[in-house]
């Protein structure tokens, strides 16, 4: 008779808590063998193939490509005895435990509707909603409940802790009377959740209804007295499922997505690929060709390079992946994950701890543009891209060498300022996965060509989505190239732990007073945000002025270099 085994997301490195699903190699209904590679995941450390621990037929798969799944979450269920007699829905004598009872509910659903989007979407949401108070069962509260409660809820699988590492165990009230009040509510929660040896509470007609509708009882938050799943709960869950199934991106919404395609990709940075960081070979700024202003770059180099916008828009736009569409189809709620979450945390941490001041400078960069042209023709630089960003990076390095105290970090907990005697130059990059800020290690040691190579490597890595945590850690100062989007300038937010960030605006031809006459000149705006706790206005201003001086007259670099 069918016997179901669950495969949980393992910790493929030491101490990882989540992994992103890159690709499934098996589907529901496939036969798998022991140690057959079933999926590829990406952890914070590396890409890893995961082998199946079981032989049998895949009956459930949870988590879609691109989903970030917590370690310990059931991602696959395998029937290891597929040729056995079909089990009765409730068959206490079969495999004995709750596992079978719970699991046997599931395949009935699964065989009808292979994918259970709401189930996989629900689990992470629950975990995100209640990170602290969720009972141990919550993170693993996926359709089929664990067989042996011994490791339920553990972050680490198999070898892991006995009790949920995400959760604090309740203490006896005698020991910690202050939290006694919390305990009843925990108990209620625990009762509500299907725990070990404890099935979901629902009356038989409701169970039948759920089964008929293909609704997974274990995924429903019960509202009835004593934690009972009611008929209304099931119907509500059904409605939710229907809504997300029916809502598609019709021609109408696709059209709007396409028409706003360029704006959207610029705004989110999602569609613009890593070109955003300014290796803009085709960017007019570099070529000094016509139509410089509207860096057409956004649509031309970014979005179109990433793929035909209109065609792709007919599919789910990537930023809506794994979202839940509202009942009326007018909104999509997308769980905040990995890069987006880290970005948000970093931005909040930075914006609300470091008092930001931004100074601006508009500068004539005509000489820099000419230099870029000359260098492009130089044999030394044949195999690297020379861009205005490169000269800007060099200018910033020179400014830092003249004002090393800008290259520092405020360490609040120690009440110290750590001055760095090296420069790890961060370059903010919009990638298909979101904003990342990898840095060029020891950029202060690099020649101009080395810097160009560094930027090229960093770009290629970011574009391939292979930027590692190490690439992004220990940055000391950052450049954000907002100009690539045709933007004049902005007030950048500091990369946490750094004390300055330079925004590099679009370069446009503008009327400019040059040698006493109004001339057409290449002009751009620079903005430097700095952490006012350790950088005074004077220092920030001097650094920006130095950057501007080099861009205005690159030969200044010879003097300062």
């Amino acid at each position: 008779m069918p016997t179901f085994e669950q495969f949980r997301m393992p910790d493929a490195g030491e101490g990882l808590t989540e992994a992103e699903i890159v690709e499934w190699h098996v589907a529901v209904g496939d036969t798998v063998t022991v140690n057959q590679v079933i999926l590829e995941v990406e952890t914070a450390k590396s890409l890893v193939d995961l082998p199946s621990p079981f032989a049998g037929v895949v009956t459930q798969i949870h988590g879609a490509q691109g989903d970030t799944v917590e370690v310990g979450t059931v991602i696959m269920v395998v029937d290891v005895d597929p040729n056995g007699e079909p089990a009765e829905p409730v068959a206490p004598e079969s495999g004995a435990t709750a596992e079978v009872a719970a699991a046997t509910d599931a395949p009935a659903v699964v065989t009808d509707t292979p994918a259970q989007p709401e189930a996989s979407a629900d689990a992470p949401v629950a975990a995100v909603d209640e990170p602290d108070t969720a009972p141990a069962a919550a993170p693993t509260d996926t359709p089929a409940k664990t067989d042996d409660a011994s490791d339920s809820g553990s972050v680490l699988v198999g070898y892991g802790t006995v009790h949920g590492a995400t959760t604090r165990r309740a203490r006896r009230s005698a020991v910690r009377p202050t939290i006694a009040a919390l305990e009843p509510s925990r108990d209620v929660l625990t009762v509500n959740r299907p725990g070990a040896g404890e099935a979901v509470r629902a009356k038989p007609p409701v169970r039948k209804l759920a089964k008929d509708l293909g609704v997974d009882l274990t995924a429903i938050a019960p509202t009835g007295p004593g934690g009972i799943v009611t008929r209304e709960d099931v119907l509500a869950a059904q409605e939710k499922t229907d809504a997300s199934k029916l809502a598609t991106y019709s021609a109408q919404s696709a059209g709007s997505a396409a028409s706003s395609g360029s704006d959207t990709s610029a705004g989110t940075g999602a569609g613009s690929n890593a070109d955003a960081q300014g290796t803009k070979a085709s960017s007019p700024r570099g070529g000094a060709s016509a139509a410089p202003a509207r860096t057409g770059g956004v649509t031309a180099s970014g979005a179109s390079a990433a793929g035909p916008v209109a065609g792709d828009a007919l599919e789910d736009p990537s930023w809506l992946n794994s979202g839940t569409v509202s009942d009326d189809g007018r909104q999509t709620a997308v769980p905040v994950r990995s890069v987006r979450r880290r970005t948000a945390e970093a931005m909040v941490a930075s914006a609300f701890t470091a008092p930001h001041v931004t100074v601006f400078h508009t500068v004539d960069v005509t000489k820099t543009m000419k230099l870029v042209e000359r260098l492009r023709a130089d044999k030394e630089f044949t195999d690297v891209r020379v861009t205005p960003l490169l000269i800007t990076a060099k200018a910033l390095m020179l400014a830092v060498s003249r004002h090393p105290e800008i290259n520092a970090s405020w360490v609040d907990e120690d009440q110290t300022i750590v001055y760095k005697h090296y420069v790890n130059l961060g370059i903010a990059a919009a990638t298909p996965r979101g904003l990342v800020v990898p840095n060029i290690k020891d950029a202060h040691r690099l020649s101009l060509k080395g810097l160009a190579q560094g930027i090229a490597d960093l770009t290629a890595t970011a574009r391939a989505g292979k930027t590692t945590p190490r690439d992004m850690s220990d940055g000391t100062i950052t450049i954000t190239n907002v100009g690539v989007f045709g933007i004049d300038t902005g007030t950048p937010i500091l990369n946490p732990g750094e004390s300055a960030i330079l925004a590099f605006g679009a370069i446009r031809q503008q009327p400019w007073v040059h040698k006493g006459k109004i001339k057409k000149r290449w002009v751009t705006q620079l903005a430097l945000s700095f952490d006012h706790r350790l950088v005074d206005g004077e220092l920030g201003a001097r650094v920006l002025a130095d950057v501007a001086k080099v861009l205005e007259d690159p030969s200044r670099g010879l003097v300062w270099g």
Partner: protein, 446 residues
């Protein structure tokens, strides 16, 4: 910097060519160099060769299963040995049961040759205990995770063997002396001072059969002379396994120094697998590793670590050298870690596909298999039997690991001190009380 980081595909000049008996095409090699070592292979027959092959296949299967178990969440970590099977099996098979082995943490293949159940190693990698075996059951010490420190432990152990031999010699000599001088107890007493003198190990009766020369020789650890006089050559040897990365640790150099001046019966077996995690040989040393011992007065030999016969011959020679009181030997087995350093790292981040392909062509198992086939020594029947054995072994390993369960939490206090310690006992009692303070501590079936 780029140049430094460039990792050359290892090719040897004739001067530094490693000892080899079977090349990567599975052909027998005969040359002037390996002629000196031929006698260390003469005892081998076809069945022994087949056993090498079988052992290496078993070890590789262990590696594959353990890696998969880690990816399935059953192990916290695993250090793969893929590609190093010949270095481990060839050397391990050269050891005598009475020899002591100090492994680092990747010597699963050596454990197998010692007769140890490799499954026990996985207890460590599952985090169930600090190593699930008794070091003296198979004379295979627990794994040492601190890089290189066990080289000192090994030398200390080898010096202990010497000390034991000296004490035995002294006891025997004292017994002879007693027998010979029963008529003049008083005089002997004057010489010995008191009964403790014999145990000091440095005071020698002047009128003894063993000369003062031999006494001082023994003190210097010059057991070759000592042995020639007393016939008490150490019968045991010690072998310590470490990698190229460990040679950059001071401990290994210190160990070489102690071993050399004490003439300790220890063999330093360095598996140079080219990578110290992500650091290549080129960033660790300029001179070939097998020459590392020469400055200490420790002879070295470089051997093709992917040739099980070459490894076996060189190790047998080295152990013989050590056992006969000629002092330590340094073996560099040139091999390649085809997998990751551990399951927590990603070798594609620091080395090239070309390099991996280069070494895959030198696979240690492929070449012995080719040799066996060329010599008509391997049949389909052998294949079927072996693959059935491997399947069973894989199943056994998976079952073993999954049934390990969790250790009692209190067990963490058990191996801190050999004997009871008041502070640890207090901690243990406090922890038990703390554990009992949780509401779920009772009544829940775990």
């Amino acid at each position: 910097m780029t140049d430094l980081l460039h990792h050359p595909l290892v090719e040897f000049t004739a001067e530094h060519a490693p000892l080899q008996f079977i090349n990567e095409r599975g052909e027998r090699v005969e040359n002037q160099q390996n002629a000196q070592f031929v006698r260390y292979l003469e005892h081998l027959n076809v069945d022994d060769l087949k056993n090498f092959y079988r052992d290496m296949m078993v070890v590789r299967r262990f590696d594959i299963e353990a890696t998969a178990l880690q990816r399935q969440g059953e192990l916290a970590l695993y250090a793969p040995l893929l590609g190093q099977e010949a270095a481990q099996v060839g050397s391990g098979q050269a050891l005598a049961a009475s020899d002591m082995v100090f492994p680092s943490y990747r010597e699963h293949g050596v454990a197998h040759t010692r007769g140890m159940d490799m499954a026990k190693i996985l207890q460590l990698f599952r985090g169930v205990d600090h190593g699930g075996w008794d070091s003296f059951e198979h004379n295979f010490h627990l794994y040492t995770l601190v890089i290189g420190s066990h080289a000192l432990h090994a030398v200390g152990y080898a010096m202990g063997i010497q000390q034991d031999a000296r004490m035995t010699a002294q006891r025997d000599a004292a017994a002879q002396h007693d027998a010979a001088t029963q008529h003049s107890d008083a005089q002997a007493g004057a010489h010995f001072g008191d009964a403790d003198a014999g145990e000091q190990g440095t005071t020698q009766p002047q009128a003894d059969a063993s000369s003062p020369d031999s006494a001082s020789a023994a003190f210097r650890g010059d057991t070759s002379q000592d042995a020639s006089h007393t016939g008490q050559a150490p019968q045991e040897a010690v072998m310590v396994y470490f990698g190229d990365g460990a040679t950059s640790q001071g401990d290994v150099s210190e160990a070489l120094g102690f071993a050399a001046v004490n003439n300790a019966p220890v063999v330093f077996f360095c598996q140079n697998n080219q990578w110290a995690i992500s650091v290549p040989n080129s960033l660790q040393f300029k001179a070939p590793l097998y020459l590392r011992g020469s400055g200490f007065g420790v002879p070295g030999v470089r051997v093709d670590g992917n040739d099980v016969l070459a490894v076996h011959a060189a190790t047998r020679w080295a152990l013989e050298h050590a056992r006969h009181g000629n002092g330590p030997v340094f073996i560099e087995a040139v091999t390649y870690r085809m997998g990751a350093h551990t399951t927590s790292d990603d070798p594609t981040k620091y080395r090239s596909r070309e390099e991996e392909a280069h070494w895959r062509a030198k696979d240690p198992i492929d070449r012995i298999r080719l040799a066996l086939e060329a010599e008509g020594a391997w049949s389909e029947t052998d294949d079927a039997a072996l693959s059935a054995e491997l399947e069973g072994f894989g199943e056994y390993l998976r079952g073993y690991v999954r049934s390990l369960g969790a250790p009692e939490k209190s067990s963490m206090f058990e191996h801190v001190y050999a004997t009871e310690n008041v502070l640890v006992s207090e901690d243990k009692a406090w922890f038990a009380e703390y554990e009992a303070s949780f509401v779920d501590a009772q009544g829940e079936a775990q």
